[in-house]
Symmetry: C2
Amino acid sequence: MNEVKTRRAGSRERRSRAPALEQLPWGQPQTPFPPLEVFSAEQIDQIHDTSMRILEELGVEMMSAHARTLFREAGATVDDVTGCVRIDRNLLMKTLATAPVEFSLTPANPERKIQIGGRALTFGLVAGPPNVSDADRGRRPASFEDYQNFIRLAHHFNIIHVIGNQVVSPLELSSETRHLDTYFANLTLSELVFHCTAIGRARAMDGIEMMALARGISVEEMADDPSLLTIISVNSPRRFDAEMAEGLIAMSEHGQAVVVTPFTLMGAMTPVTLPAALAQQNAEALFGAMLTQIVRPGAPVVYGSFTSNVDMRTGAPAFGTPENALANIASGQLARRYNLPYRTSNANASNVVDAQAAYETQMSLWAAVLGRGNLIYHAAGWLEGGLTASFEKLVIDVEMLQQMSRLLMPIEVNTESLAFDAIAGIATGGHFFGAEHTMDRYQTAFYHPMISDWSNFETWSEAGALDATQRATKVWKQALAEYREPEMPADRREALMAFRDRRKKEIEQNGL
Amino acid sequence: MNEVKTRRAGSRERRSRAPALEQLPWGQPQTPFPPLEVFSAEQIDQIHDTSMRILEELGVEMMSAHARTLFREAGATVDDVTGCVRIDRNLLMKTLATAPVEFSLTPANPERKIQIGGRALTFGLVAGPPNVSDADRGRRPASFEDYQNFIRLAHHFNIIHVIGNQVVSPLELSSETRHLDTYFANLTLSELVFHCTAIGRARAMDGIEMMALARGISVEEMADDPSLLTIISVNSPRRFDAEMAEGLIAMSEHGQAVVVTPFTLMGAMTPVTLPAALAQQNAEALFGAMLTQIVRPGAPVVYGSFTSNVDMRTGAPAFGTPENALANIASGQLARRYNLPYRTSNANASNVVDAQAAYETQMSLWAAVLGRGNLIYHAAGWLEGGLTASFEKLVIDVEMLQQMSRLLMPIEVNTESLAFDAIAGIATGGHFFGAEHTMDRYQTAFYHPMISDWSNFETWSEAGALDATQRATKVWKQALAEYREPEMPADRREALMAFRDRRKKEIEQNGL
């Protein structure tokens, strides 16, 4: 049913009269800048040393007996009564040494392959909100139709490279089988690498098997040429959930990428001071990263950071703050100390798509990019501290991400770009509008915005005096109208449908 | 009349019931980061070489005969028929060598002294718009009352360090004597260093004399301990206005700071390519800087950049674009090549205080700060490409500037901030809200926002669902209510009034 509707939507003719949306071509930006640093090497060593003391003296509570066994066999000190796992720093460093410094993820369409690490940036779609909002229908619980529209937009906008964990939670679908519907949507409505839900082994395995079907290769083949990533959260302070551990183990066993991200709001899950928050985050992230290398040495793993502050007057989380930006920068220093790719985020805490949403997002985005975040999660569509995915915010974020991407492009300095002759050709006080040097280059010289309106006040007023958020409504609608569903061989599509339907029945009968 | 009203306003009791606005204490942020670089040293040399060819082979049209004489006497090649001044690169470098690498400016209250250069950042109030806007009265031509209110706000908000050229043009006042009223307002409603209008010698001299009166020192004494700055624009490409040259000469003769800023929109006043725009900007800025050192070796001078792009489809100026950000970064590389302090800007082209205004402003602000802008002009209140000064935008900019300032503050890493014992004291899965380490620090641990609202959606909705711009209206009104006019000795105030009134009569009778 759903897929029939979807295919018809995908193949209908575009109705809009507006010119097609202009956007940058597909590709990952490569940063030319050296990473920004908040702390000196000595200060990073102090934070590292505190992390090592946390792991050696305090340990982490690992709630999965299976994972505890793996840690014990690897040489860690395990207490099965309390669940506490303690790790010597030398053992940790030796185990982490097998982690790759960078790796690639290949989806069904190899043209949408991405590189995680080095100078490459990867921007991810917002992930996880229970609510959705747009100008027409306001804020509301998310549906599967909302979910599918976000996937279509992520596929349509070239600057979005990865689909994160369920962009919104489609609340009308059973929580036990929802992952099968969302995987199917990811694989048929987009061609992007996506996040595989790793709450327990079964959901991870379903994602791995479905991606292998979509690629037309075996699960074993995919272990050497991975396609998927997952975010493993830590219940900070120092507690690792059993289901998350099982999901991590399944992903790493199968060579898929694991991003270990402690959720550490300063003042709530960590002390209020940034060095302490980073020391704790670091201990927790490395603890999870070690487990991936115990399971499968060489398995792709990413150092995740999600450290921000809370409003100490109310306990509310805050994002895009100076403290959040500092954590985005400093966590990159830590990740690079261990030669791990680095995941950070681009978040804000505004309740509405306004100036606050934009300045907080730019604050965290600049810090994430200059801190050399390799995977910048929640980069498009995040609103309200992550409780809402916004269609308007998504489009405004796409604009900001494209601008950032353009900023990072290399600039040639040569006779043509220095243009001495063009300068000599214009009289003093004249202008360059009609110069040949201008005419030859004007169409590509500058970034063409999707949202920004530079018309004068009178023109802008006559056109309805729309602000950026109102213009964004038009753009996401136009993008959905222009969206084309990617081609997929019929046999693979049928195999995916059959898998999804079979697993739904199994789960309905036997549980997950 | 005016001053009586003003003093009453300044001494009235605050009526608002809201708690007093919280803000950071007065002070200039010091950047801990190395300057970001867009170009390699070799590329900067190529741009430099092109600038030198522009000055040697093409020259700059200097419309002031007086200035041409000064250039000729200094060794430049001058054509009095065309006005063309050509400068050999060795002569230029030798003349520029006397310029100070940094300097300070001292206003009437020495506590508001500022440093221009090095790691210090200076944020300036928006300067120059003909229009003003606020939520209550919309967009309209500016009045002197608007002017005065902006000066009050600049004085009230500690993060604003400098008053730029007439924040708005008070259109009901005579254009010939307006500068006397605005200088008087600057000196009595604020204690800040300000911009002295240097369109012709007379306006500059009036500012210098009034500041000396306000400080209670002589004009000669002030030459060794300067107080004022001016922006000297260039009519790019390669034309230097006579009035501007006379203003520059007057300021430099009296040891006051001159900021030479070519207004160079790529595609209009320069070629479309960034290296060419920078080469031309560089030639023009150094040309003006050289004149300051001819007039008075050692006079304070700042390298100014105002390079952005136009919308090539309409010719409209754009700000806060990737190209503008690149220019903000690269121009700092050029300024430092000549050991000159660097002026850049924090601009946007939105017609309204919306997400675009915020993301463009953050884009240019981050580039200005990381490009090591020493003087960041138009940092608070600029809207609509500089055609409007906005009360709401000013407050949102103050929030962004304070956040940036907080980001740049040094962070201590020590036993207390690493807080191993605090981490050890909280059980796994617990929280730090009530921990002693938290309680001892929670009031100062994080930046307290003035505009950002982090309350949850329900609380925010019940409070009226105000967006950031609507909240900004409340904040500037509260700031005006909290504003206190600074004290000034009665004799100095009277001397200023007498000077203003005498000069008004002279100008009315004899012209400027």
